[in-house]
């Protein structure tokens, strides 16, 4: 069995990599594990290594942040109870520094409100302690996958392309397929005008739709779902006689 060989060889540096740790043939993913409790950090690091990831362990917030910002890791597994700078603050500073590194937070505070606080601080996903390894590894895989299909976002509206979900000011909104396609097109060109012809061809595959009321109706439905007032839209603006523009 391979995992046995892995466990034995982990200490001398050479580890056979099962598929889990590779990134679409781009080499091995490196996971930064920020956890000060060695009784958790050690077995967790070994488990991640068994999955084929490179693992770097940091035991305090300051050094975790430094390593996270160094650009050498692909994912941060972040415990919230770190000494010196706590996990939430690490996530905040990471995001304030403009990093888009996926962050999976680990927290012993597992009330729903703690997850909201964590997501607001910049975490992408969370696992409450204690957790089953399978659950944690599934989240790690999902986050690494998501990294390679980046989100589209502008003016507080975000499309998660990997999961086909839409968020407005952090709250999920439910869109029909056409609305989603239209919003995606607009977000892909956020800040620029999307002409009626482009929208018609892209969303309906039919340039004739450019002159129809259907396009306008979809725009107005989108505005309603995005909480954008029709008279004075702030996000989805009509460019008279040309098309529409999604504000950055």
């Amino acid at each position: 069995m391979r995992w046995r060989a892995v466990a034995r060889t982990a200490s001398n540096g050479w580890v056979p990599r099962p598929l889990g740790g590779t990134l679409y043939g781009c080499g091995v993913a490196t996971v930064l594990l920020a956890e000060d409790d060695t009784a958790i950090a050690q077995p967790l690091a070994r488990a991640l290594e068994r999955e084929g990831y490179e693992v770097v362990v940091r035991a305090d917030g300051v050094s975790a942040l430094q390593t996270a910002l160094s650009g050498t890791v692909d994912l941060l597994v972040l415990d919230l109870g770190l000494p010196r700078t706590d996990g939430l603050e690490v996530a905040r500073r990471l995001r304030a520094a403009g990093s888009a590194l996926p962050v999976l937070m680990l927290t012993a505070r597992r009330d729903e409100v703690d997850f909201v606080v964590g997501l607001d601080a910049g975490a992408d996903d969370y696992v409450g302690k204690p957790f089953r390894l399978a659950e944690l590894l599934a989240r790690v895989r999902a986050l690494l996958r998501r990294r390679y299909t980046p989100d589209l976002a502008a003016s507080g509206v975000r499309l998660e392309l990997a999961s086909h979900r839409a968020f407005c000011d952090g709250e999920e909104i439910h869109l029909t397929n056409k609305e989603y396609a239209l919003l995606r097109l607009l977000l892909e060109h956020a800040g620029d005008v999307v002409t009626r012809q482009e929208a018609a061809e892209h969303v309906w595959g039919d340039a004739e739709m450019a002159g129809s009321k259907t396009l306008d109706m979809h725009i107005s439905w989108l505005r309603r779902k995005l909480g954008d007032p029709a008279q004075a839209p702030r996000r989805l603006v009509t460019v008279r006689g040309v098309g529409f523009r999604f504000e950055r």
């Binding site: 409790d37 070994r46 304030a96 009330d111 729903e112 909201v116 607001d120 302690k129 952090g170």
Partner: protein, 333 residues
């Protein structure tokens, strides 16, 4: 209370007037000539009525003055009972009343400290238990992953026990939380913030600063933004944040509320230089900031919010943005 003072004062005055007026009327009846009797008697009676009326005015004022501090004390005591744990610092210049006021203030401080310690303890217990259980389950999973079938089955059985233990911990903490939040009521956020503004208007006018309250759509917004919380806790916590922004911050102070999924987030921000880096991990520690004699500190403010199953966080250090998270009552329940 007020009526009793009024009635007893009046009774004394009426008695005194009667004691003077009755003999006078007798004298009038005996010694004054009949044509002048009516005039003299009327004069005596008129003076008596005037005396009683004057006594009534004086008594009413005295009663009001005695009762006002008492009803203020009663209000303060009721606020304390309702979970508003901020010392008022109010004194009345009357020894007995000041003793009561001091007792109320020190109770408030002690209760706040108690809530803080209880929260700290609950958080520590929860954190320690969960951390140890995590370490234990990680080891067991490792055993399960690296062993043969028989040992793996044993490890899985042990993991099930860990799961059950986690469940028990969760239930106990849930129970504690429900008991803690027994004062929580349905709170209309826009209304609450409007009342808060009224409390702070003077302080802002004096310092020449501006307080902006930003609720989605203001008071006319439908559906209303509603939270489940103890009004006193929220008022205290936001009070500390506003006070901090007023003392240590600069520019406009904005208090903005919005819905965030199942929660209401109220952010307090200003336009100052914010919290210096070395202070960031310490702002919620006891005795670091806030509470300068009057009012409560950030540590207690955080505990009060957490007692309502909410959270108080420093969302941004520069400029400072504090956020209070509260459970939201969505339209449906």
């Amino acid at each position: 209370m007020r009526r009793r003072i009024l009635v007893s004062t009046l009774a004394v005055v009426v008695l005194a007037v009667a004691m003077l007026a009755v003999p006078l009327l007798v004298v009038v009846e005996r010694y004054v000539d009949p044509p002048d009797q009516l005039r003299a008697g009327g004069l005596v009676l008129g003076l008596a009525v005037l005396a009683v009326a004057a006594a009534m005015v004086v008594a009413a004022r005295a009663a009001r003055r005695t009762v006002a501090p008492l009803s203020q004390l009663a209000t303060d005591a009721a606020r304390l009972a309702g979970g508003d744990l901020g010392p008022t610092g109010r004194r009345y210049g009357a020894e007995e009343l000041d003793h009561v006021a001091e007792a109320l203030d020190s109770s408030a401080v002690r209760l706040g400290e108690l809530v803080r310690r209880e929260r700290q303890l609950a958080a520590d217990v929860s954190h320690q238990l969960r951390s140890r259980l995590t370490a234990l389950s990680m080891r067991l999973e490792e055993v399960a992953a690296l062993s043969n079938t028989a040992v793996r089955a044993e490890a899985e059985a042990a993991l099930d026990q860990v799961d059950r233990m986690v469940h028990i911990v969760d239930e106990l903490l849930d129970q504690a939380r429900t008991e803690r939040a027994h004062n929580a009521v349905e709170l209309d956020v826009a209304e609450h913030l409007a009342a808060l503004r009224a409390d702070w208007d003077d302080a802002f006018r004096v310092s020449g600063r501006t307080l902006r309250i930003d609720t989605p759509g203001g008071l006319d917004e439908e559906p209303r933004l509603r939270a489940r919380a103890t009004p006193g806790h929220v008022a205290q916590a936001l009070g500390v944040l506003i006070e901090n922004a007023l003392q240590h911050g600069a520019g406009t102070v904005t208090v903005a509320a919005r819905a965030r999924g199942e929660h209401v987030v109220v952010e307090v921000r200003d336009e100052g230089v914010g919290v210096p880096d070395p202070l960031v991990p310490l702002v919620f520690d006891r005795g670091v900031s806030g509470g300068d004699g009057t009012g409560i500190g950030l540590a207690v403010a955080r505990a009060l919010v957490e007692a309502d199953s909410g959270r108080l966080e420093l969302r941004q250090a520069r400029p400072a943005v504090f956020a209070v998270y509260l459970p939201r009552i969505s339209n449906g329940d």
